[in-house]
Each structure stands twice: as C-alpha cells, then as structure tokens.
C-alpha cells in the first residue's frame, strides 16, 4: 500500500509536469501577445503557434485534476475547497482565455478584438501566477481544522494565502512561464515575431533567474528537514542550470535548445516543489495539527491498483499520439500563413 501511494504521488506529479510543460508555454505565449505582436497579423501568428494544441494542453489539467481526485481524495477535497477563490479566478481566467482565441477575430470592430486580446493576456498571466501561489501555500502550510467526522478543512480566508513566500513562488512561476512561452514562440515563428521573442526572452529569462534563485534558496533554507532533501537539491540545481543553458542558447540563436532546456527547467521546478512537500501533500500550520500526507490522504488499495493499470496502459499511448500531433504541426508559423491579411486587417471572415 505504501508503494502504491508513492507510485500515485509520482503519477500525479507526472501529470502535473505534463500540464505545466504544455500549458506553461501557452501561458507565456498568451502573455507575450501585446509585447511581441505589433499588429493584428503578428498577434494571429502568435496565437496560431499554439492554435492546434492549446486545448489538448489544457486537457492535462482536467486529467491531472481527475487523477488527483481518484488517488488522493482528501487532498482534492481540502485543497479545492480551501483555495476556493484562487481556483475560481483560475477557472474564470482559463474560460475567458480559451474562448478568446476563437472569438477575437469574429467581431467587426477593433475594439472587440482588443477586448479579447486583453482576456488572453490576463487569462494567461493569472493562472501562471496563482498556480505558484497555490504550491507555495502547500509548502509553507495553511491552517486546517480536523473535524471529528474525518478529513481536513481550511480555516483561513483568501488573504491568508497571500503572504510573502507564496507570492514569491507565484512571481517565480509567472516569470518562468513567460520566458518559457517566449522560447516556444521563438521556435515556432518566423521573422519579426521570432526576433522580438528572442530579445524579450533574454530579458524575462534574466528576471526569472533572479526570482528562481531567491525562491530556491528560501525554500531550501526553510525546508532543511525535508525527507527527500537530496532530491530537492538535485532538482533545484537542475532548474537553475537548465535555465542558464536555455538563456545561453537563446543568446546564441539556438531556438530548439533554448526551448528544450527551458522545458527541463519546468520539469525540475515541479520536481523541486513536489519533493520539498514529500511525503506531505498539504502542510498543516495549525499548532498540533496533523499534515495531510500521501499516506493519510489516499484512496483505498483497490482504487489505486485499478488506476495504476489504467495509467500504465494509457499514459504511454497518450504521449505517443500527442507527440505525433506536435510532429504534424511542427512547422513554424509566419505572416504568410495568415489568410487575407493583405486585404483587410480588421475583418477576415467571409460573412
């Protein structure tokens, strides 16, 4: 049973990595919209770099959430009800961002398009920030009561979640996803969009490096007693090194390497946060309170066994067909791919 619980800790972690690796660059691409896109054609190029894959990427959140529910229902119940308002903001942001890709070019006025572009920017930035805040809180600990009927219940309010450490975590993920998205954009676009993505990528990359260093040092110093300290250190170091390598690759104009190294940074960041927590899922900051861990927060053996089989068969299959999708859409997107832009910028749809 302990092994199964650990296996599921890893599987949920893998799904979270899948989500942040994929939707992470969507966030960055969304945030880059006003900075890298100078006109509507540029902005359409930017959106079309993630056009065929953004909903696939977002699916990882749904699957990670469902697997978290099935494997650690106590974690799911306590975290989702406790982080209520933060999750509400994330949900609204994801909804508005998602529909904006489709809606922005359906209107007849520039004002219409501008509104939906704003939704895309904030709909990308807000989740990028709040996911970091949420994970920062899991590590730092939140006040929880343990009712007699069992389980845990968050006893603080929304603003209790916005203390310095979680906010630093949030700023770090915000910058991290922004620079990650810029490396993706540089890899997937041509011309000016590509050049501007690179230039901005270096600036944001440096900001990320500073924030990440602060976050890593603070986290390690505050969690010297972590059970898997050596893994924490390994992932922390890996995150820092890969981020530097990504930056160097950008400087040298190697888009592919820059993206892949940044992808490694995102994986390492999740690993770093995850093993700082281990074996806790939520640290209880209430005096005398018990932490919610992978051992006291999981489903029964039968469910975990069943779900292990499903995951072992399905995840490789999913990875295979999704990799094929990325292969099909591997080409860079340029202004020449945007139909009718020479004729009219504001209205390209045949009515």
């Amino acid at each position: 049973m302990d092994t199964l619980q650990f296996v599921w800790f890893l599987i949920v972690g893998a799904l979270l990595i899948g989500y942040f690796v994929l939707d992470g660059f969507d966030f960055g691409v969304g945030m880059a919209l006003p900075f890298v896109g100078r006109d509507d054609v540029d902005r359409r190029v930017i959106i079309n770099t993630i056009g065929p894959v953004w909903d696939l990427n977002e699916t990882w959140l749904i699957v990670a959430g469902a697997c978290l529910f099935a494997s650690f229902p106590e974690w799911y119940a306590t975290m989702f009800s406790g982080f209520y308002l933060a999750l509400l903001l994330i949900l609204l942001a994801l909804i508005l961002r998602g529909v904006s890709f489709e809606y922005r070019h359906q209107g007849t006025h520039e004002r219409w398009t501008a509104w939906f572009d704003t939704f895309i920017v904030f709909g990308s930035a807000l989740p990028a920030l709040l996911w970091g805040v949420a994970f920062g809180n899991l590590i730092q600990g939140i006040p929880m009561a343990q009712p007699e009927t069992g389980g845990w219940a968050y006893t603080g309010n929304f603003f209790d979640l916005l203390t310095v450490y979680p906010l630093l975590a949030g700023m770090t993920t915000l910058a991290l996803f922004f620079s990650y998205g810029l490396t993706y954009l540089a890899l997937k676009s041509t011309g000016d969009v590509r050049e501007r993505s690179r230039a901005l990528g270096i600036k944001i990359g440096l900001v990320t490096l500073v924030l990440a260093a602060a976050f890593i040092v603070w986290t390690v110093l505050a969690n010297m007693g972590a059970q898997a300290l050596w893994l924490v250190l390994v992932f922390g170091a890996l995150a820092a090194v890969s981020l530097i390598l990504s930056l160097l690759s950008t400087v040298r104009g190697r888009d592919g390497f820059a993206f892949v190294w940044h992808l490694v940074t995102v994986i390492a960041a999740v690993g770093f946060i995850y093993f700082t927590l281990f074996p806790n899922l939520i640290v209880n900051s209430t005096v005398g309170g018990e932490n919610l861990t992978i051992f006291n927060g999981s489903s029964s053996e039968a469910t975990l066994t069943l779900m292990t089989w499903v995951a072992v068969f399905m995840i490789p299959l999913v990875l295979a067909y999704q990799a094929w999708t990325f292969w099909v859409f591997r080409k860079r997107v340029g202004r020449e791919h945007i139909p009718g832009h020479a004729v009219s910028l504001s209205r390209t749809k045949a009515a």
Partner: protein, 481 residues
C-alpha cells in the same frame, strides 16, 4: 455573513446552473461530431463535393461548440472539490475513478484528435484525416459513458463497501460500477438525445437556406439527413427511455413515483399516467388530473397489472430505514426535515416536458420527411417551423437532466449520503461570489456563442471547387485562428 448566504442552497444552484450550461454544449458536440464524421465519410467514399461542403459547414459549428464544452468542463470537475468537499472525501475512491478513466482514456483522445482534424486538412492524407474525426467522435461518446457511470453511481450505488473505520465508501468491484444498470440505461438515452439535438440544428440550418433559395443541392442533403437522424434518434430515446424507466422503478422507486406525482401505491388501471395534475400546495395529495389508465404500471414495470409504489408509502419506509434506530449511519442518511420526497412539481412537469418536447421534435421529422419527399415544394411557413424546431431536443435534454437530478433529492448518493451533508465547510459568501461571477460570464458567453453559431449556420457552406483530378486543393480547407 454566513446567515445571509446559505452555502448549501447556493452550491446547489451553482451546480444546477453550471451543469445545465455545460450540457448545452456537450450534446451538440457528441451529436454533431457523429453526423460530421458520417458526412466526411460520404465525401471520402463518393468524392461528391456537396458532402465536403456540409462537412466544413457543420464542422465549424462543431468547433465553436467544442471549445465551450472543454472550458466549462473544467468547472464541472473542480466544482466537486470546491463546493462539495465532504462528498468528494466520501466518494473519491469510487466517483474519482471513472472521472480519471474518462480523462486518461477518452478526453485526451478527443482533445488531441479534434485539433488534428480542425487544423490538419492540408497536413494529413484524406484517410488519416477522416480517421481523426471518427476518433474524436467515438471518444466524445466514450467520455459520456464514463461520466454517466459516475452519475449512475450516485443514482444507484454499486460495487462498493462502507469502510467502518472511516465511514467512507470504497471500491470493491469496478465492473459493477461501469456496468451499473442505470449507466447502461442512461448512456444510450443520452447519446440518441444528443443526435436529435445535432440533427435539429442541421434541419434548421437547411431550412433557413431553403427558405431563401440558397445552396439547394447541399441543403437538400443536409435536410434529409437531419430529418432521418432526428427520427432515428427519437425512436432510440423511446426504446432506451423505456428501459431506463424500468431500471429507475427498481433502483429509485421514489423518483418514479415523483415523476408521476403518485402519492399512493397503485396497480393496474389505478396506476394511470396523468397528462395534467394539480396538487394541494403542501404536495401531499392531488386535486385534479387527466389520466390514461394502466400506462404508468406499464411504463414502470413492463406489465399492465404491475404495482407502482406511492410517495407516501415510500416516505414512511425510508423514514424508518434511514432515520430510525436501525439506520447504519443516520448522520449521513437522515435529512434534517426527515423528508425523502423530491419537489414533486419539478419532477412531474420536467418528466412531461421531456417527453413532450422530444415527441414534438420527432413530429417535425415525420411531417418534414413527408412534405419534402421527391423534391416537392414546401410552403414557406413550414421552413420557419423547421428553423424553430432546433431547440426542442435541447430543452428536452435539459429538463430530462433536471428530472434525473432533482428526482434524486434529497440524496446526493442514493441511500448513502444526503445532499446537505456533502457540501463544503466554507463561507456562503465565497459560493455567492462564484455563483454571481459564473452566471455573469456564462450569460455573456451564451450570447456570443449563439451569435457565432447562427452566423456560421447562415454563412452556409464554403465555396469549394474540384480540381481536374477530382480532389480539392487542401490549402483552401485549412482553418486559422
């Protein structure tokens, strides 16, 4: 503040509103995916351009819908943890498993291949491209199965045990969960209703263009296809609905009684189906009704002389079983007001509107197929009727779900947990805030969605031409955001 905002009431309203809203998009996605896959198959097999044009037209409507289905689906999943954390703790073991399986097996497939289908016209061979729409369509249907299996567990728990130490439900038999008779009944019922919804949207689109004399060649195909699909779908809903009613009578007799507003146990001629009933304000007895004898007995049991238990008898039995001294866990199973009766006017009327609206949609098909036979000309007013028939199956589906879920009350999980015990221990203010925000955002998006879909439908099929070798320049088919 917590006295002002009732967490339970608000959480229930939020679940009802967001779920019904989500279900505006889901059936159209399921139904349209299948119809579009069939149209594209016809194009690949015959090479007739009209099928390709229709594939593109209805594919666009499918796409507009799909994105909304995805983003509102995230809310559905998160909501269990946010608003119903006690429920999530109690059932995560069992309820979470089908949700996770849905994600891993079906939803990933759906979201990946829909992207390949939309953006892959010029990058995949016609056959591989055709395969992507079929995989998308089949995975939407598979998705529905897992979600309905999860829902069926709430209606009729199976394959579980209650852990005496934690009082949580635990999985013992996944096969019993996925072959739950309620799921086996709900699944075909939901799918064929979804086909009806997509079919009437197709009928309405074709009728709108016919009324204006546009695209007659393509629209005739769409019209006849839609009319037939709608009719076949209706026959499917009748057959599966009949099956489902009998399962329901066994699993949730109170729901059956509430569907009929049947206060007293009756059999044979007395177990009649009322077309209209007025009850006393306290909902304990009826004042006036119009009835068809034997029909309820037959619907519920498959036997004209069958016995159907009444609300009052069931209330007494449940009160003993779930609130009495022998109740295994009265804390979870006994409602504070000791009432096991759903809101009768809701279940009674929702049941009738579901059947009535569905039948009306089928009538449109029967008349439509008759008047459009052999290319006959049709009176203009008939086109208008056909256009307005589009929402009939949609409303039938919505009231069908209102019936299913309201008829389950006061249970969250039948016989195991009442709705009032499943809610999160959170301030009502939070739920009020999210209810207001979701309602505002969903309302605004509904307006935009409706405009986009009607605009896409009115725009008609794209201008496409065959090249000399009988194919179509794929670059003219690509979609770009």
């Amino acid at each position: 503040m917590n006295d002002v905002f009732d967490t339970l009431l608000l959480a229930r309203w939020q679940f009802g509103l967001t779920t019904l809203y989500h279900f505006l998009f889901v059936p159209l996605t399921i139904g349209m995916g299948l119809l579009v896959a069939i149209l594209q198959t016809a194009w690949v097999r015959t090479g007739k351009l009209q099928y390709l044009k229709l594939t593109k037209l209805f594919g666009k409507i499918f796409l507009i819908n799909f994105a909304m289905g995805v983003v509102t689906g995230i809310v559905q999943e998160f909501q269990f943890g946010m608003n119903w954390s006690n429920y999530s703790r109690f059932v995560g073991d069992i309820f979470g498993a089908p949700l996770a399986m849905e994600g891993l097996i079906a939803f990933f497939l759906e979201a990946t291949f829909v992207g390949l289908w939309i953006f892959g016209w010029d990058r995949l061979s016609p056959r591989v491209h055709l395969l992507t729409i079929w995989l998308t369509s089949l995975s939407t249907i598979l998705s529905a199965y897992f979600i309905l299996a999860a829902n069926a567990w709430m209606q009729n728990p199976a394959g579980y045990r209650i852990n005496p130490n934690t009082q949580r439900a635990e999985l013992t038999d996944i096969l019993a969960v996925v072959t739950n008779p309620v799921a086996l009944g709900q699944f075909p019922h939901t799918i064929v209703a979804a086909i009806m919804f997509a079919a009437t949207v197709m009928i309405a689109t074709a009728a709108w263009h016919f009324a204006r004399g546009q695209h007659p060649a393509e629209m005739r195909v769409a019209l006849r296809f839609g009319l037939w699909a709608n009719l076949v779908g209706f026959i499917g809903t009748v057959v599966s609905g009949d099956l489902l009613a009998k399962v329901m009578t066994t699993a949730q007799p109170m729901k059956m009684a509430a569907a009929e507003a049947m206060y007293n146990t009756a059999s044979g001629a007395d177990a009649s189906f009322s077309i209209f009933t007025l009850g006393t304000p306290d909902g304990v007895s009826e004042l006036f009704s119009i009835r068809i004898p034997y029909l309820t007995a037959w619907l519920a049991t498959g036997n004209f002389n069958g016995t159907v238990e009444g609300i009052n008898d069931l209330q007494d039995a449940y009160s003993d079983m779930y609130c009495g001294p022998d109740a295994a866990n009265a804390l979870l199973t006994c409602p504070t007001d000791n009432s096991f009766v759903p809101i009768i006017w809701v279940t009674y009327w929702a049941f009738r509107w579901m059947i009535g609206l569905g039948a009306l949609a089928a009538l449109v098909s029967v008349i439509g197929l008759w008047v459009t036979r052999k290319n006959r000309s049709v009176a203009p007013w008939m086109w208008r009727v056909a256009v307005w028939s589009a929402p009939l199956p949609m409303f039938a589906s919505l009231v069908g779900w209102i019936f299913t879920e309201m008829g389950r009350q006061p249970w969250l999980v039948f016989g195991l947990m009442t709705t009032q015990t499943g809610v999160s221990p959170i301030p009502g203010l939070w739920v009020a805030l999210s209810l207001i925000l979701f309602t505002a955002v969903y309302g605004a998006l509904a307006v935009v969605e409706f405009k986009l879909i009607t605009r896409a439908a009115k725009a008609g099929p794209p201008e496409l031409e065959l090249t000399t070798d009988g194919s179509v320049d794929a670059s003219t088919l690509t979609t770009v955001y």
